[in-house]
């Protein structure tokens, strides 16, 4: 399965955010999307997920047989968006009901909640009272339940505590065998720790970085240079 982005363009009035973004993302890898503030990472995610209509270019998802399939992307937002008036248990039940036709081998609500490490006492609390990390777990759970072929994660691990972040990383590593995972982050340690490949978004264009660079000792300096910043002396 390949997510093919070809010559994607998107402008907001005079500001050109994506000028000619092209890249192919493959199944089985976790991609780290790096870019400076305002580089257009969220815009790119929105164009891939269909939330925004691109001005030019195209986003295509090719199946394992390289035939085009519908681009169904799951999006995990940096700021969780969940209905506050439901409990965690109720939200998962609602999500399961709505997406029952997309979920292969559905589990029980309780099994799903346990899967992301939510304590049983928290299942029956209003989401309004959840911490940021707990809300993020619920968001991640939506992706785990519906298993869309493409998963977009906007700053996914920054709000988790050490244990939860470790659990999430393990989940993502498990997921990558059947999905295309792209995560945007500002934290290079997360990128080097979990990502198989780094993609730089700079001046509205995408550029892949070799796998060997991720584990190179001067990884940080190289990324800074690629992003147009000044290199350390």
């Amino acid at each position: 399965m390949i997510l093919q982005i070809s010559h994607l363009q998107k402008s907001f009035e005079e500001k050109k955010v994506l000028t000619d973004a092209s890249f192919s993302f493959e199944k089985g890898k976790i991609y780290g999307l790096l870019g400076r503030n305002g580089a257009g990472k969220t815009t790119l995610f929105n164009c891939i997920s269909g939330e925004l209509k691109a001005d030019g270019g195209e986003v295509r998802l090719l199946g394992d047989d390289l035939a085009p399939i519908a681009c169904d992307a799951g999006y995990v937002y940096a700021t969780p968006v969940l209905p506050d008036f439901l409990t965690g248990w109720e939200f998962v039940k609602f999500y399961l009901d709505i997406n029952h036709d997309k979920i292969r081998q559905p589990k029980t609500v309780e099994a799903y909640l346990a899967m992301v490490g939510l304590e049983e006492d928290d299942w029956y609390r209003l989401i309004k009272g959840y911490s940021h990390g707990m809300k993020n777990k619920l968001q991640m759970l939506c992706v785990l339940m519906s298993q869309p072929p493409v998963v977009l994660l906007d700053e996914p691990l920054t709000s988790f505590d050490v244990v939860a972040a470790h659990q999430m990383k393990e989940l993502l590593r498990e997921m990558k065998t059947n999905h295309i995972l792209i995560l945007s982050t500002h934290i290079l340690q997360i990128a080097s720790d979990i990502c198989d490949e780094i993609v730089i978004l700079n001046n509205g264009e995408l550029r892949g970085v070799g796998e060997e660079m991720i584990h190179a000792p001067d990884f940080e300096n190289q990324v800074i240079e690629l992003l147009g910043g000044e290199r350390d002396a």
Binding site: V81, D97, Y124, L126
Partner: protein
């Protein structure tokens, strides 16, 4: 000192102009033609600043004119008609007593400039680090100046209209207002500094003061109805001088108060201003949000609606969790209709036995009453800010079928919520007809009795339809959509015009019935066609 005033003014004006450009950009049709480069076009922004200053002055003046007309002169005229029938002029004493209760007492203590919290204040005091003492004193002086500038023509113009021309009593009144405002500011700061009590934030005290001022004014007017000298004494220069003298210690306290910085740091905080903004907007404009403490752990664990699926399940939970905020208004409606019906029946039985009490002419008026009874607008706001604002981020929620299904479920719940008051109204009409001895003409009332529930359905459907095809609410709080405002205004106008219609024609009833019946399928088609495109986050 001049610098602080200038910075404050510039920040406020710059923010006002930027807001104006932002709103222009969000106007339908023309909005897209307004470029973002306007934000850096300094000449145009200067022009906008001047326009905004003029607009602010005109708007402020208009607000005071409306306030004076609605809360001083109109009640004074009403009180005059009841207490002094036959007199064409309004009683100056009544105006004075109303002004005394609403403005000198309640207004001065509830609206404290020193303890008021807003974003401009946060920017100037926290980000620009302006001198708190200078800033607070300037703001108080500005408020006093503005009140005087706007109240003077509003009060005097009103008095001229009612045949009382003297100008100087108004000046005395404004000196008294300034004196009470100074005392109110000083009292507010003293209470906050010494007792950590913020009168402006204490909703209960503020509410009691404001609510209490109305019966207090009414009581004083009733008690003093035989004392016409109140106006003369109240607006006498000596009274004004006395008030000014009493306010001198307050002025001294304000000038010497050493802890303006403490007040600024503890009231105008990041948490209160920035983080609380959305919550305040939601609470203030959309009714209270769901509060976790209102529910017991057992009720949250109960799987009461588990048998329902998908959107039925979601909406059942939404309406159950938000029941408290909807129920209060529902009860008020039921009590008002029930009480009015009983009173009308008693009046028909005992006081108006020999009069013609036919109700056929009230149908046009009922249109307006049913419009006012409709909960649609309030429920839509609550639906958006407590539910849709989150779920619209999910693709499945924006699909045509899902929208239609949600619309259908919500319409059913809304109709049910408003149907009982409508049926009670029907019951009230039937009871009145029977009590007034028109039992034989009851059959003739059937079209009216059918139209009332139909109209209730129509208004609910109309509001829900507008919500789905315009989605007027902004993700960050507030409401902006010209189409929505126009259509809401249109239905209000239509309902209001019906109020003015004086007809007992059966055709009017038939017309309303036909409109309602046609509207139901039309709205379904519109929802299916337009909502997937229009029902989105803004």
């Amino acid at each position: 000192m001049r610098n602080t005033a200038l910075i404050g003014w510039q920040v406020q004006k710059a923010a006002a102009v930027n807001r104006f450009i932002y709103r222009l950009q969000h106007l339908p049709l023309v909005g897209k033609r307004v470029p973002s480069s306007l934000y850096r076009a300094s000449e145009i922004k200067s022009l906008f600043q001047v326009l905004s200053l003029i607009g602010g002055i005109v708007g402020g003046l208009l607000k005071k004119v409306i306030y004076v007309a609605a809360l001083l002169y109109f009640p004074a005229k009403l009180a005059g008609d009841i207490l002094f029938p036959g007199e064409t002029t309004i009683s100056g004493s009544t105006v004075f007593l109303l002004f005394f209760c609403f403005n000198l007492l309640a207004g001065s203590f509830v609206n404290s400039t020193g303890l008021e919290v807003n974003e401009d204040k946060y920017v100037i005091l926290n980000l620009m680090r302006a001198d708190a003492r200078v800033y607070y004193l300037q703001q108080m002086a500005l408020k006093l100046g503005r009140d005087t500038l706007y109240f003077l023509p509003a009060l005097w113009g009103g008095l001229c209209l009612f045949g009382k021309l003297p100008f100087w009593p108004i000046v005395s009144l404004l000196i008294e207002l300034a004196a009470f405002r100074l005392i109110g500011e000083a009292a507010g700061l003293w209470l906050y500094d010494k007792k950590q009590f913020n009168i402006g934030h204490s909703g209960k005290v503020g509410l009691w003061l404001l609510m209490g001022s109305l019966p207090a004014a009414a009581g004083l007017i009733w008690l003093c109805r035989e004392i016409p000298a109140i106006w003369t004494v109240g607006t006498h220069p000596l009274t004004a001088c006395a008030a000014a003298l009493v306010s001198l210690p307050a002025l001294r306290y304000l000038l010497r108060f050493p802890r303006y910085t403490y007040v600024a740091r503890s009231t105008v905080t990041y948490a209160v201003v920035v983080q609380g903004r959305l919550a305040v907007e939601e609470m203030g404009k959309n009714g209270s949000a769901v509060d976790e403490k209102s529910f017991t752990s057992e009720s949250l664990r109960s799987h009461k609606f588990e048998h329902l699926k998908g959107y039925e399940y979601l909406n059942a939970l939404f309406f159950a969790r938000n029941k408290r905020q909807h129920r209060l208004l529902w009860r008020v409606k039921m009590i008002l209709i029930g009480g009015f019906s009983v009173a009308a029946c008693v009046a028909a039985l005992f006081f108006f036995k020999d009069k013609d009490l036919s109700l056929f002419g009230i149908m046009p008026g009922l249109v307006f009453i049913l419009y006012l009874m409709c909960s649609g607008q309030r429920v839509c706001k609550s639906l958006f800010f407590n539910c849709d604002v989150c779920l619209l981020k999910y693709g499945f929620y924006r699909q045509g079928d899902a929208l239609l299904q949600n619309f259908r479920i919500r319409l059913r719940r809304l109709v049910w919520m408003d149907m009982l008051p409508a049926l009670l109204l029907c019951g009230g009409i039937v009871a009145f007809v029977l009590c007034s001895g028109q039992a034989e003409s009851l059959v003739a009332y059937i079209p009216m009795l059918v139209t009332i529930p139909l109209l209730s359905i129509f208004f609910d459907m109309y509001q829900l339809l507008l919500y789905y095809i315009f989605q007027p609410f902004l993700e960050g709080g507030g409401q902006k959509n010209l189409g929505y405002s126009l259509c809401s205004g249109l239905i209000y106008m239509a309902a209001y015009i019906c109020l003015q219609v004086r007809t007992a024609s059966v055709w009017f009833t038939v017309g309303v019935m036909a409109l309602t019946l046609v509207f139901i399928p039309v709205s379904y088609v519109l929802i299916y066609r337009l909502a997937p495109r229009c029902f989105r986050l803004k």
